[in-house]
């Protein structure tokens, strides 16, 4: 079994999941898009949020970026600061 990927949750994604952090098991060389597919299966309410972005190590990541278990991953729902 691989090490899990740690995913930080913020804003509405945290409320929907009910936790501020998830440990997600993914196959080696999984990509950002694969992570979202798994999360949508495990937490179907997340699929209702349009345009969730993913940050990897504090940078916005493309859907095809490959994830490592040592990455800090975060779900970024639509921002509303300011």
């Amino acid at each position: 079994m691989n090490n899990p990927h740690n995913v930080l949750l913020f804003g509405i994604t945290r409320d929907l999941v009910g936790q501020n952090r998830l440990a997600v098991q993914l196959p080696d060389n999984s990509r950002v898009a694969d992570l979202m597919t798994v999360l949508h299966q495990q937490y179907p309410t997340l699929a209702g949020i349009q345009s969730i972005l993913v940050a990897v190590n504090s940078e916005y990541a493309d859907a095809d970026q490959i994830l490592s278990p040592t990455d800090e991953i975060a779900l970024i729902p639509p921002v509303s600061g300011g």
Binding site: F10, D15, S58, E59, Y60, A74, V79, G81, G82
Partner: protein
């Protein structure tokens, strides 16, 4: 100077930070908690940030502003935590030699913060709470 803080924002300290002998113009923008949104009475607002990434994204925005305009100094301060009506949620300040640049750089910074910086606010009404959706 860029930071997130749970404490009230000190305008005079921010002004002092960006004032410089070469500055002929200083623009400040303050985002303030309003008492209503779409005709519903707001009681308070909770601001949540993904701190390290928020500071990085604000730094990118400030760097881009410095590339586009002759910015002398800038300050960006964003509150987190629970804010009440009338409290300042964000302060942007920019000093430039001439006035037009100070307006444009400040506006660019606040507009872009609202698009890219991982900060979220939740409005608390008397009958519930909602995460604010971005406005164009």
């Amino acid at each position: 100077m860029i930071f997130l803080t749970e404490d009230p924002i000190d305008i005079n300290a921010a002004y002092g930070h960006i004032q410089t002998g070469e500055a002929g113009a200083i623009n400040f923008f303050f985002g303030v908690v309003r008492n209503n949104t779409q005709d519903k009475a707001v009681e308070l607002l909770d601001y949540e940030a993904y701190g390290p990434m928020a500071v990085r994204e604000m730094q990118k925005i400030a760097d881009e502003a410095c590339r586009r305009w002759p910015v002398l100094k800038y300050v960006i301060i964003h509150r987190t935590g629970t804010l009440h009506i009338g409290e300042m949620a964000v302060l942007i300040g920019v000093s430039t030699p001439h006035r037009g640049d100070s307006f444009e750089a400040t506006r660019y910074i606040i507009d872009t913060i609202k698009q890219t910086v991982p900060i979220w606010k939740k409005e608390q009404f008397d009958d519930g709470a909602v995460w604010v959706q971005p406005t164009p």
